[in-house]
């Protein structure tokens, strides 16, 4: 709606609101929100209440704080260890992969070199290579090098983000004017200086977007650590929760029921992501819109 649009007449740019459409959209919101509501409510219950009371009502006792304390102290505080691992894996690999993607995407969009189109095709093609097709040979190669069951096994594959390169390629093509680069060259700036002093500042919003996408994918990664890690001390949060859930599951486990801890742990795992989502919305929007335009 434009600010100067003071007419009372309904137009396409200022239509009448529809209650019916709003109703259906809010039904969809209900679908989106229900699991969080359920998760929050059940993270406040004791194990006994979790097993016996109605899923969407609170239990006999509000035990959220108690559960949080148990999550952090259970098994000598292994959850804190997993949390630190997740932070470490995510921060290191996201910083590295964003930088590599920025350099590569920029080169593909703005620099000339032999074989560029082939490189581009290979990278675009690799976006559609299923992760599992890589995981087995990666595991076998890494185990020959003796780096499975070490942080490297989770970090190194996460350094490479073809999707990040794809985004940086599009971003660079759109937001770095070629004329500016030519002017810098005439003024005698070398390609590296041009990149760091002229192009990189222009690409700053793009870097945040690529960083966010990489952050979510590494933080949420389940399959790679599942394949690579055996030592529970190296687990990220996702794998740790999986293991806690296995312990109390009906299909094989030690039988100790700690579902209240699993759910509270799950809640704690998604809180940082929800904060990142809410505070950095505009970067998501720009990443998605560029991805959409250029398919």
């Amino acid at each position: 709606m434009k600010a100067n649009n003071k007419q009372t007449l309904y137009t396409i740019t200022n239509p009448r609101k529809s209650n019916l459409m709003t109703f259906f959209a809010f039904l969809f919101c209900l679908y989106s929100l229900l699991p969080y509501v359920w998760l929050f409510i059940n993270a406040t219950k004791t194990q006994r209440d979790f097993a016996s009371t109605f899923g969407l009502s609170f239990g006999s006792r509000f035990a959220l704080w108690e559960n949080i304390v148990s999550v952090f102290t259970y098994h000598d505080g292994i959850f804190i260890r997993w949390l630190m691992n997740s932070v470490f894996y995510t921060v290191v690999s996201t910083v590295v992969s964003t930088l590599l993607a920025a350099l590569a995407g920029y080169a593909l969009a703005k620099l000339h070199f032999r074989g560029k189109n082939i490189v581009l095709l290979i990278i675009l093609g690799s976006i559609s290579v299923p992760g599992i097709a890589l995981a087995i040979p990666q595991f076998l190669l890494f185990s020959k090098m003796g780096i499975t069951n070490t942080p490297w096994a989770v970090l190194i594959p996460s350094f490479v983000s073809p999707f990040g390169v794809y985004l940086m390629w599009i971003f660079s093509a759109q937001s770095v004017p070629t004329g500016l680069l030519e002017a810098a060259e005439i003024d005698g700036a070398g390609p590296w200086r041009t990149f760091f002093q002229i192009s990189l500042p222009l690409l700053a919003p793009a870097l945040v977007t690529v960083f966010l996408f990489a952050f979510v994918s590494v933080w949420n990664n389940f399959f790679l650590p599942l394949v690579m890690l055996k030592d529970t001390n190296l687990y990220p949060l996702t794998l740790g929760l999986y293991q806690w859930n296995l312990m109390g599951s009906s299909a094989g486990g030690s039988g100790e029921m700690i579902q209240n801890l699993v759910l509270t742990g799950a809640l704690l795992t998604i809180i940082p992501l929800i904060i990142a989502f809410l505070s950095l919305q505009k970067y998501w929007q720009s990443g998605l819109s560029l991805g959409a335009e250029k398919g």
Partner: protein, 306 residues
């Protein structure tokens, strides 16, 4: 004089060559890691797919036997059929839902547009383990809502009975990605110039006509992208069924429920790496071929622009 010209030519050539090489220097760090975690593993994968682990003799070269065996492997085809059925139903339902939502948001006829946008995108950031835990427990008959619903209504519905498990997984996947796809569509709609709408209105086009002749064509590019990523994602179905199989008993989830689960179990619990590699390669080829068929148009347009 000749030598001077030659020297100059040589110098400009050197500068040009250096400019040509510099692109490679920028790409090199990515390319090194890419080679290490993509190219080498793919080559190695093809290599080990030609071997079988025999009880006597260890790794034996078997040529294309793994592939031949695979073609006759009912467990493999069972999984392929399942993910195919899943893809054919889940992807269109989700994308149509996303598109309707995007059109509704873009029509400006909703209250709370921003709220709807944020809330529907939030699930995209939730790890598969958490979303599966939430939905698995929430829908389950043991602790979840269907325990209460069944009790209240005297019914006996189980969302994780073998015939319903895949539907429940589709509900979870749609929950994660519908909002994400909706935002992609919404962004495309936002990029339509408002002049176009004003012109259409002057021409007397009504709401539906504008949707059909202006908005739908604007969605074409993003539709290609979302279809490709959705197909790739659903062909790789692994996390949800793998986690569910450990959470719910009698859900009908076998260790070859999806091709990816079969690969995982063959390679890491059955130590049949050669066969698993062959299976993964076949699935990768199927996925890439389908992705390329959808992609060809979009990719060609992009290449032409550069």
């Amino acid at each position: 004089m000749d030598s001077k010209v030659l020297l100059r030519k040589k110098q400009t050539n050197n500068v040009k060559n250096r400019r040509k090489q510099i692109g490679w220097l920028f790409i090199a760090p990515f390319a090194i890691f890419f080679t290490f975690v993509y190219i080498l593993p793919i080559i190695y994968s093809i290599y080990i797919s030609l071997f079988q682990n025999k009880l006597i003799g260890g790794e034996v070269f078997v040529g294309l036997n793994n592939y031949k065996e695979l073609m006759a492997d009912e467990k493999f085809w069972d999984g392929v059929k399942r993910v195919f059925t899943y893809t054919v139903i889940q992807v269109p339902v989700m994308l149509i839902l996303s598109m309707i939502l995007a059109l509704a948001l873009d029509s400006l006829r909703l209250y709370g547009t921003k709220f709807v946008r944020i809330v529907s995108f939030l699930p995209y950031g939730v790890p598969a383990i958490v979303s599966t835990l939430m939905w698995g427990f929430m829908l389950g008959t043991k602790y979840g809502l269907f325990k209460s619903i069944n009790k209240a209504l005297g019914t006996n519905f189980n969302p994780f009975a073998p015939q319903w498990t895949l539907v429940s997984i589709a509900v979870m996947a749609t929950w994660i990605y519908a909002g994400y796809n909706m935002l992609i569509f919404y962004s495309s709609l936002k990029s339509v110039s408002s002049d176009l709408y004003e012109a259409a209105q002057i021409d007397g086009a009504n709401g539906m006509k504008i949707v059909w002749y202006i908005k739908m064509p604007a969605l074409r590019g993003s539709l290609v992208v979302t279809i490709i990523f959705s197909i790739i994602g659903s062909f790789q179905l692994f996390n949800e069924p793998q986690i569910l199989s450990k959470m719910v008993s009698n859900s009908g989830i076998t260790n070859y429920y999806t091709p990816n689960m079969y690969v995982y179990n063959l390679a890491f619990t059955g130590s049949q790496q050669g066969y698993a590699a062959a299976l993964a390669i076949v699935m990768a080829v199927i996925t890439i071929v389908i992705a390329y068929i959808v992609q060809i148009r979009g990719l060609r347009d992009t290449m032409n622009e550069r």
